[in-house]
C-alpha cells in the first residue's frame, strides 16, 4: 500500500516521456550489441487492443544462441510482446501491432513471409502445458507432418525420438509413445510441448512462463533443458520469477506498464540496474 503510493509520487513520468527515454536508450544498446548474430530485432513496436495501448514503443534485439528473459510485474505487456514475435496476436480480435519486427533481417509482417512459415521458424511453448489429446508420438509428429519435414515413417520416427531426447523426455516415455500425451505429469507434459516445438526445427523458441504451472522439481528439469537448448536456438522466456531469469538467461529485459524500462546483460540488470523502476522491482518493492 505504502509502496504503491510512493511509486505514484516518485514516478510522475508520463508514459510518453518515459517511452521516449527508454526507446532511445534501447536503440543505443541495440546498436552497441549489433552484429552478425542478432536473430530477432524489434523497432518501435506498439500493440493496441481496440483503443487500449498495451505496448508502447518497444525496441529490442534478441541474439542468436542465448536466452533472453522478459521480466516485469503482471500486466506489463511482456507476454503480449512475446506473442508479437510469432504473430500469435493475429488470432485475437481487435489486436493491432505497429512498428517493425525482423527475423534474420526480414520483416515478419512482410507479405512474402507466410504467417505459418513464421510460426514454424519461431516456435512457442505456453504457460499451461497444452498437449493435444493424442498419443505422445502424434503430439511430436504433428508439426513435422504438416510442414512436410519427413519423407517417410522412419524419418519421422527419427525426428520424434531426437526431439524427445533433446527435451530430455525420451527415456521416461520411450515405452509408451502410443499412450496419451495428456496422461503425463505436468512437468513431463511441458517437456512434451517443448519437444513438440523443437520437432519443427525452429530457429527461435518463445516460452511464455513455461514453469508457472509446475512444481519446483519439474521446474528445475525444464530450466536445465533451456540451458542445454540455448546452444542451438535463440530462446526468449517470459517469467515471473526473478530467480529463474537470473538462473537461465544471459540477457534480461524489464517491462513496466507496457514500456521496456531497461535491457542489458542479466548480470548487470540484477546487480547494477540503471533504471529506478527496475531497481524497485528486483528489490521487491512492487510487483
Amino acid at each position: 500500500m505504502n509502496d504503491a503510493s510512493k511509486l505514484q509520487v516518485t514516478l510522475p513520468i508520463t508514459p510518453d516521456t518515459s517511452a521516449a527515454v527508454a526507446s532511445s536508450a534501447m536503440v543505443r544498446e541495440g546498436e552497441a550489441a549489433a552484429g552478425p548474430d542478432i536473430k530477432v530485432a524489434a523497432r518501435n513496436v506498439d500493440v493496441f487492443y481496440g483503443d487500449k495501448q498495451a505496448i508502447k514503443d518497444v525496441s529490442v534485439d534478441i541474439p542468436e544462441r542465448s536466452v533472453t528473459a522478459f521480466i516485469g510485474p503482471s500486466g506489463c505487456g511482456k507476454s503480449t510482446f512475446l506473442r508479437c514475435i510469432n504473430r500469435m496476436n493475429d488470432t485475437i480480435d481487435g489486436c493491432r501491432v505497429t512498428g517493425e519486427i525482423t527475423l534474420d533481417g526480414l520483416d515478419i509482417h512482410d507479405p512474402s513471409l507466410d504467417v505459418v512459415e513464421l510460426r514454424a521458424r519461431v516456435g512457442m511453448v505456453f504457460q499451461k502445458p497444452n498437449p493435444f489429446p493424442k498419443s505422445i508420438y502424434e503430439n511430436v509428429a504433428y508439426g513435422p507432418r504438416i510442414h512436410g519435414l519427413a519423407r517417410g515413417r522412419p524419418e519421422l520416427d527419427e525426428i520424434v525420438e531426437s526431439s524427445l531426447r533433446k527435451a530430455g523426455l525420451f527415456e521416461e516415455v520411450k515405452d509408451r509413445l502410443d499412450g496419451p500425451g495428456t496422461g503425463l505429469s505436468g512437468g513431463q507434459q511441458q517437456r512434451l510441448c517443448i519437444a513438440r516445438a523443437i520437432a519443427v526445427s525452429p530457429e527461435v523458441i518463445l516460452m511464455d512462463e513455461p514453469c508457472s504451472a509446475l512444481d519446483p522439481i519439474a521446474t528445475a528439469k525444464v530450466e536445465e533443458l533451456i540451458d542445454e537448448l540455448k546452444a542451438n536456438y535463440a530462446i526468449i522466456i517470459v517469467t515471473h520469477s526473478m530467480q529463474q531469469a537470473a538462473r537461465v538467461s544471459q540477457q534480461t529485459a524489464f517491462f513496466h506498464l507496457g514500456v521496456l524500462a531497461e535491457i542489458g546483460s542479466t548480470q548487470e540488470i540484477f546487480t547494477n540496474p540503471k533504471d529506478k523502476r527496475t531497481q524497485d522491482y528486483i528489490t521487491g518493492r512492487f510487483g
Binding site: T91, G123, M124, N130, F132, Y142, H147, A197, A199
Partner: protein, 446 residues
C-alpha cells in the same frame, strides 16, 4: 412498516409469535405440496399418454389370418392354358374372388365347420377384401401354380380381426351393417377348427398402405422407407452444411453486421413454426423449382432447413467447449488456422456434434405438419425405387401415415395409427439412447 410499529408500540414484544410461525410453516408445507402436485401431474400425463398409445396400438402388431386350400382352376384364371402371365393379367380380382369363395366354402365343409343359416356372401365376407388381389399377385408371380391346390393364407376381415382383439363384440355386431353376430360365431368355430389363427403380423411393418376398406392389409413399409430416405437426405445435407456454418461462425467470423444477421437468423429459424417451413417447401421446391409432390427429396429438403438450426446450435456449443489452449498449441507449431480447426478442434468436438445431429434427426423424424403441405398425405401403394432415383418417387412418411390413418372412418385404423406411433417412438427412443451413449462415452472434462 406495520410490523415495525407494533414492535415499537409494544415496547419489548416476544420476537417470535407461535401462531404466526405456525401459519408460516403451514404455508411452507402447502407450497411444497403444490410443487409435488405439479411434478406428479407432469409425470402422470406422460404415463397416461404412453399407456394410452400402447393399449390402443399393440394390437396392430398381431393379426387374424385365415388359411385354407384353394384349387387354382385353370378354367377360371388361365383359359388359354398358356401359363403366360401377360394373358393371365386379363383376369381381374373378381375372378379370383369367386375362386376363393368356392374354395373357402369347400374347405369349411371338408373340415366339418357348419355354415348353416349364413348366406354364402357372409361366409366370404370373413376374408379380407384384399385376399383376391393377394392370390392374383401370387399366381402371376408363379404361373406354374395354376392347376394345383395350394394352401392359401390371407388376412381375415378387419371386423373379424377386431372381434378376436376385443374391439368388436356381439352387441356391436348387431348394430353394424358390415358384420353379423352369426359371422362372429362362425369365426369362433373356424378358430376352433384351426382355420383361423392370430399371430404376429410382419405385413404391418413391411407391407404397403391399403385402401379405406381394407384396414387389415394396411402396412407401414412405404412410410418407413420414405422416412428413411428423408433422414438420409437430412443427414447428407444438414450435417456438412451445419458443421461448415458453425465452423465459420465460431472459428473464423469476426463480430460484424454480417455475422450478427446470421446469428439472429439462426436463433429465429429455430423458433419458426414448422408449418411455415411446409409453406416454404410448397412455394419454393414444388411450385418454383418444379420438384415432384409427395417425394422424399422435397420432404428431405424441408426437414434439412428445419434441422439446420438445431445442428448449428449444438455444433457451436461443442466447438466452444474445446479449450483455446489446443488451438494455440497447433498455431504455435505453425499449423494454419484451417489446419488447426480440421486437425484438432473438429475431431475433439465431434461427439458433441454427432449427439446434436442425432437429436436433430429425431426431431425431423417426428415432424408432420410441413410434410402435409408438400403432398406426403397422398395414398401411395407402390414402393419407391432405390436411391437416388427413389428420392423422386412418391412415398409416405411415418408420422404422416399416422395422420392419414386417423382420418379414415373404420375404427380399425385407430389401432393401426397407434401401432405406427409405437414404431415411431421405438425409432426415436433408439436414436436418443444412441445420443446418450455417445455423450456418456466421449464426454470430456478439460
Amino acid at each position: 412498516m406495520s410490523v415495525d410499529n407494533t414492535v415499537a408500540e409494544a415496547g419489548r414484544p416476544r420476537l417470535i409469535r407461535a401462531d404466526r410461525t405456525r401459519r408460516r410453516n403451514a404455508a411452507e408445507t402447502r407450497f411444497r405440496i403444490y410443487g409435488v402436485v405439479a411434478i406428479v401431474i407432469s409425470l402422470a400425463a406422460l404415463v397416461f399418454l404412453v399407456l394410452s398409445i400402447l393399449s390402443n396400438g399393440l394390437g396392430a402388431f398381431s393379426q387374424t389370418f385365415i388359411a385354407f386350400d384353394v384349387y387354382l382352376d385353370p378354367a377360371v384364371i388361365d383359359k388359354n392354358g398358356n401359363r403366360n402371365p401377360e394373358e393371365m393379367k386379363k383376369v381381374t380380382t373378381i375372378g379370383y374372388g369367386n375362386l376363393l369363395k368356392k374354395a373357402l366354402a369347400a374347405d369349411l365343409e371338408a373340415r366339418g365347420v357348419s355354415t348353416e343359416g349364413i348366406p354364402p356372401k357372409e361366409v366370404d365376407g370373413l376374408l379380407s377384401k384384399d385376399a383376391p388381389a393377394q392370390l392374383r399377385d401370387k399366381v402371376l408371380a408363379d404361373p406354374g401354380l395354376v392347376g394345383q391346390t395350394i394352401r392359401f393364407e390371407t388376412y381375415a376381415n378387419g371386423r373379424i380381426d377386431g372381434y378376436f382383439k376385443g374391439r368388436v363384440t356381439m352387441e356391436s355386431a348387431r348394430l353394424d351393417s358390415n358384420v353379423s353376430p352369426e359371422q362372429l360365431e362362425l369365426a369362433d368355430r373356424m378358430r376352433a377348427a384351426g382355420i383361423v389363427s392370430v399371430r404376429f403380423n410382419w405385413g404391418f411393418l413391411f407391407g404397403p398402405d391399403a385402401s379405406e376398406l381394407r384396414p387389415e392389409a394396411a402396412g407401414l413399409g412405404i412410410a418407413i422407407i420414405g422416412s428413411a430416405y428423408m433422414m438420409m437426405i437430412v443427414l447428407v445435407l444438414a450435417l456438412p452444411i451445419g458443421v461448415a456454418a458453425s465452423i465459420y461462425l465460431e472459428e473464423f467470423a469476426r463480430q460484424n453486421a454480417f455475422t450478427d444477421v446470421i446469428e439472429v437468423n439462426i436463433a429465429n429459424l429455430a423458433a419458426v413454426p414448422s408449418i411455415v417451413f411446409g409453406i416454404l417447401g410448397l412455394a419454393l421446391f414444388i411450385n418454383f423449382l418444379g420438384l415432384p409432390q409427395s417425394a422424399p427429396i422435397v420432404g428431405g429438403l424441408v426437414l434439412t432447413l428445419m434441422t439446420l438450426p438445431t445442428i448449428i446450435i449444438a455444433t457451436r456449443a461443442s466447438l466452444k467447449a474445446v479449450p483455446p489452449s489446443i488451438r494455440e498449441a497447433a498455431l504455435g507449431v505453425g499449423a494454419s488456422k484451417m489446419q488447426t480447426v480440421f486437425h484438432h478442434v473438429l475431431p475433439l468436438a465431434m461427439p458433441g456434434i454427432l449427439t446434436g445431429t442425432i437429436i436433430g434427426l429425431a426431431q425431423a423424424l417426428g415432424e408432420t405438419a410441413p410434410l402435409l403441405l408438400i403432398g406426403m398425405v397422398a395414398f401411395v401403394r407402390d414402393f419407391p425405387g432405390p436411391p437416388p432415383e427413389g428420392f423422386f418417387d412418391p412415398a409416405a412418411a411415418l408420422p404422416v401415415q399416422v395422420y392419414n390413418w386417423t382420418q379414415r372412418a373404420d375404427p380399425a385404423f385407430v389401432e393401426r395409427a397407434s401401432g405406427a406411433i409405437i414404431v415411431l417412438l421405438v425409432f426415436l427412443l433408439s436414436m436418443n439412447i444412441i445420443a446418450i451413449i455417445l455423450r456418456r462415452r466421449f464426454e470430456r472434462r478439460w
